[in-house]
Amino acid sequence: MFELPSGAEIQSIIAALKTGVGFFMPEIYLSVLFMLLIIVDLAVKGRKNNLLPLLAVLGLAGSFYFIYQQHLLEAGEIFFGMYALDGFAIFFKYFFVISGILAVLISVADDQLNRHARSMGEYYALIVAMVIGMIMMASSTDLLMMFLSMELVGLTAYVLTGYRKDDPRSSEGALKYLVYGAVSTGLMVYGFSLIYGITAQTNIMKISSELALHGYDPLVMMLASLLILAGFGYKIGAVPFHFWSPDVYEGAPTPVTAYLSVGSKAAGFAILMRFFYVAIPHGGEPFQDIVGIDWLMLLIVIAIASMIYGNVVALWQKNVKRMLAYSSIAHAGYLLLGIIAMDALGTQATLFYLLGYLLMNIGAFYVVIMISNRTGSENLDDYRGLGKEMPLAGAALTVFLISLVGLPPTVGFIGKLMIFSALLAKGSVYIWLALIGVLTSVISLYYYMLIPLNMYLRESNQPVEAKAGTGMAHKVAIAVLMLLTIYFGLFFKPLVDFAKVSSSMLGVTIY
């Protein structure tokens, strides 16, 4: 039976919404930016190609101001427990805005995308929309918000993947992405509904206390966890929910691939951590332990499968984008190890690894774009002899790949070091997980090194026709990314400290 709220109740709802808005400025700002981009595109249709990306970059950079303001606000839930503002959310706000800026930069760099795509107007608006969606994924504290924000990210991602309509691979990728996305989101919503059925709550904090108070059927909860993991696993691209990723990564325009592999994956990790840490906490303070639901075991299986499958299958890839797709599956496995550790160090390690992954993976794709601008190809064979032709790009790519393997002195090494430290700090229980981790990274060395092997050790089999050289701005951007990858491999304190202050949810340091 539905009753109309009384005047006083409406008053209080409006008051709550008003306070909530104060905690919601970055998202509002970005939404305005999104609409502005569409309007400006309509106004300048076809002229001034560089205006939109410039506006997008400056606009995204402007949001740093609003995000920075949020450090002063007190952590807590807003909009009736729909949404959270805490260190964890702020971390991901920075993360997604930076990845959005880099995505715009590499989109400008990509000749193929700019030449073939019909209109680039909506493209930048969609990137901004995806930033909003990912930020909301990282901040949602309610099952409904989680679902809606994931759909926002998903829908923009499908469109971006299929942006090159002339390329059948692009369309194929988009369709596959859509179909797999629909299925796994459907499974996830089914899992949500089971949880709602047990607890009659959609807020994850309330779900947690409800489970602790009134008990639950472990079997149903296990099933629900598994179904929900299907949805999150699809976003992070972990085995066995990875089937979309090689085709999508290969088919999508390269900047979109880079953006998906970093942004969308990180958003998946953010939502996974927030949901499982808070709703079904496992083994530890401050949230009450919900026993009997061994989702940690599920994560362990998924992590092992991802590390092994991703790294082994990548060995046979001849297309660099596809190889990086499989490598990103493997990296999802490494990132999961940090979550499995289930303590402050592990969370910190995961966040740090994500930051490092942002640098090295976007950097690697940046160089891949530069190379394909020159050779028109992403095939490994066409990389022959490029080291001499493009000295900076070659050196930078080597650094990024070494970082992806996890060799010092790069940020990727520190990431792996922190993740394995988190595992070994637990004593001997997770040593075998760490062992699988290091052994698979030896495997990864082989396929990553195939790229420098072709660039430096082999001579080009056909003369490279002299095309216009890489623009100065892009050279600078690549050099900066390369130097940061090395710098943070040697002096990583700021990033670790940032990850540390960010590993608190709703004002409580989780694990």
């Binding site: 303590d343 402050a344 160090l345 910190q348 001499k388 080597t398 070494i402 060799l407 010092p408 002195p409 090494f413 792996k416 070091l417 394995f420 430290s421 070994l424 700090a425 004593g427 001997s428 040593i431 760490a434 062992l435 290091v438 052994l439 990274s441 030896v442 060395l445 082989y446 090194m449 420098p452 092997l453 430096y456 050790l457 082999r458 002096f491 990583f492 304190k493 670790v496 400290d497 540390k500 340091t509």
Partner: protein
């Protein structure tokens, strides 16, 4: 001082980065100057080194001062990890008798390597940048006293080495380069896990924090009893020892992890072979002496026999393989495997004689094998082949070359009066006096016989006798009526030229001098070795428990 000697090459590399790639001579000279400056610094460090201080562990009270020398210690990274305490990584350099020996060797071989790189014409700029990066990493490994720092330098060696073999190597270089890379990385990832485990198990007595300091790790009383690698956790300590040992053994290289070495040597250009055999292999045994053994002394004591047997296999198997080689460079590569076996045997003796012999053998093998590879390079430059049976009677046409070869070959087979003899003698004295390794030592002596066999046989086939029918050179009768030989497209001097003499003569002098009067090196390392033996001895360990 130590920072300077470590980072000089990388500074030279940065300078080279700014030099246009057409200025090949400037690039070479900059590198040479950096290497010479490194050598001067090494001499200064040697002069200022007080041989009475022991090293290995901290002095009484837990401070490294008074035990190590030329210490440079600044906090590098201090992270507060909340519940886990804090993560402290230090920039911590210092030398003791073990490392200073290797520092001098590295500085020497670096100079030789640059001289030997002079004729390289392909991508000179890239070559010398990578070479300098490698030189920094090698030197850094030998002076780092923080495990984390050591690991960074250790891994930093891989990439330049990969490219140096892969770009400037022989026909099968791709395979050799990636094999080297994969083997070494396979060994070192385990080292990473052990390093993390050790970090959580060791407390620096001075600060009360966990530490990566190898000095603190070398004292068993600094271990937390029930930590993952603490004294109570016997199983994991054994596991950690074994994987560390494998990691270092791959570098040595020890049978059965040696297969990357012949490939790498055959494909690598001469200077890189010199570096590889002269310095890089020593890192394996250095790592054992600095990290593997003193950190896990009780496991070391339990595995003496196994290590000795592995050493003996190396000695004899390496010698047999060398005997079977047609390719001169491959023969020298296998002789390296054989000679590094003496180092393992000496270490397994676990007494002062054996360990002194092992460390001295590391130094001597560095100088002797550098000569061997340089000499192989000399003939390969001229003839473009290294097949032993395509030469003959070279002694009468290249007398100086033959003389230097004879010195190097005899030093390698351990002729008394040359440095190799003294170290091998020490190794055998040590191995005989230890009950555990006595039987193994008796078998290993056979290695000397086989060593003499392959060395003398190759000497005889190449330098004595007459020119063969399918020789790599033509015989011509000159205007003066004498016979000359002529290599097909060799324009330079037939016998050793000035540059080659500059490289080879100092090495030969060192080999002869240290064979007659070894005290300059032995005096430097003895007190550290005695300390190492003490740290490793079972008496000290039972006293602790």
């Amino acid at each position: 001082m130590l920072s300077l000697i470590v980072f000089l090459p990388i500074l030279a590399g940065l300078v080279i980065l700014a030099v246009p790639s057409s200025q090949k001579q400037i690039i070479r000279i900059v590198s040479l100057l950096a290497a010479i400056a490194q050598g001067v610094l090494a001499v200064l460090i040697w002069q200022g080194y007080d041989a009475s201080l022991p090293g290995i562990t901290a002095a009484a009270g837990g401070a490294p001062e008074g035990s190590f020398q030329f210490i440079e210690r600044v906090p590098w990274i201090n992270l507060d990890l909340g519940g886990m305490g804090s993560l402290n990584i230090e920039y911590f350099l210092g030398v003791d008798g073990i490392s200073i020996t290797m520092v001098i060797l590295t500085a020497l071989i670096s100079i030789i390597g640059i001289l030997s790189s002079w004729p390289i014409q392909k991508q000179v700029k890239g070559y010398f940048i990578l070479y300098n990066l490698l030189a920094t990493a090698m030197m850094g490994c030998f002076v780092a006293l923080d495990f984390f720092l050591f690991y960074v330098f250790w891994e930093l060696m891989l990439l330049p080495m990969y490219f140096l073999i892969g770009i400037w190597g022989g026909p099968n270089r791709e395979y050799a380069a990636i094999k080297f890379f994969l083997y070494t990385l396979f060994g070192s990832v385990f080292m990473l896990l052990v390093m993390i485990g050790l970090y959580f198990s060791v407390i620096d007595p001075l600060t009360g924090n966990h530490t990566f300091s190898l000095v603190a790790m070398a004292s068993q009383e600094n271990y937390i009893k029930d930590a993952i690698l603490g004294p109570d956790n016997v199983m994991w300590r054994y596991a950690a020892f074994i994987v560390l040992f494998i990691g270092f053994a791959i570098k040595v290289p020890m049978f059965p992890f040696h297969t990357w070495l012949p490939d790498a040597h055959v494909e690598a250009p001469t200077p890189i072979s010199v570096i590889l055999a002269g310095v890089l292999l020593k890192l394996g045994t250095y790592g054992m002496m600095r990290i593997n053994f003193p950190l896990f002394p009780e496991v070391f004591q339990a595995s003496l026999y196994v290590i000795a047997v592995l050493g003996a296999i190396n000695i004899i198997y390496g010698a047999f393989c060398a005997l079977a080689q047609q390719d001169l460079k491959k023969m020298v590569a296998y002789s390296s495997i054989s000679h590094m076996g003496y180092v393992l045997l000496g270490l397994a003796a676990a007494n002062s004689e054996g360990m002194v012999g092992a460390l001295y053998q590391m130094f001597n093998h560095g100088t002797i094998t550098a000569m061997l590879f340089l000499l192989v390079g000399v003939i390969y430059d001229r003839a473009h082949t290294r097949q032993i049976d395509r030469f003959g009677g070279l002694a009468s046409y290249m007398p100086v070359y033959a003389a230097v070869v004879t010195i190097a070959w005899f030093a390698s087979l351990g002729l008394p009066g040359l440095s190799g003899f003294i170290s091998e003698a020490f190794v055998f004295v040590g191995a005989f006096s230890s009950v555990t390794t006595r039987n193994v030592a008796i078998v290993s002596v056979l290695g000397i016989v086989f060593g003499a066999a392959y060395l003398l046989w190759s000497l005889q086939r190449m330098f004595l006798g007459k020119r063969k029918d399918d020789a790599a050179y033509d015989l011509e009768v000159g205007a003066d009526g004498h016979e000359h030989i002529h290599f097909h497209d060799w324009k330079g001097k037939l016998d050793l030229d000035a540059r080659e003499l500059v490289m080879l003569v100092p090495l030969a002098v060192i080999v002869i001098f240290l064979g007659i009067y070894p005290m300059p090196v032995l005096g430097m390392l003895t007190s550290s070795i005695n300390k190492l033996v003490e740290v490793l001895s079972p008496v000290v360990m039972t006293a602790l428990n």
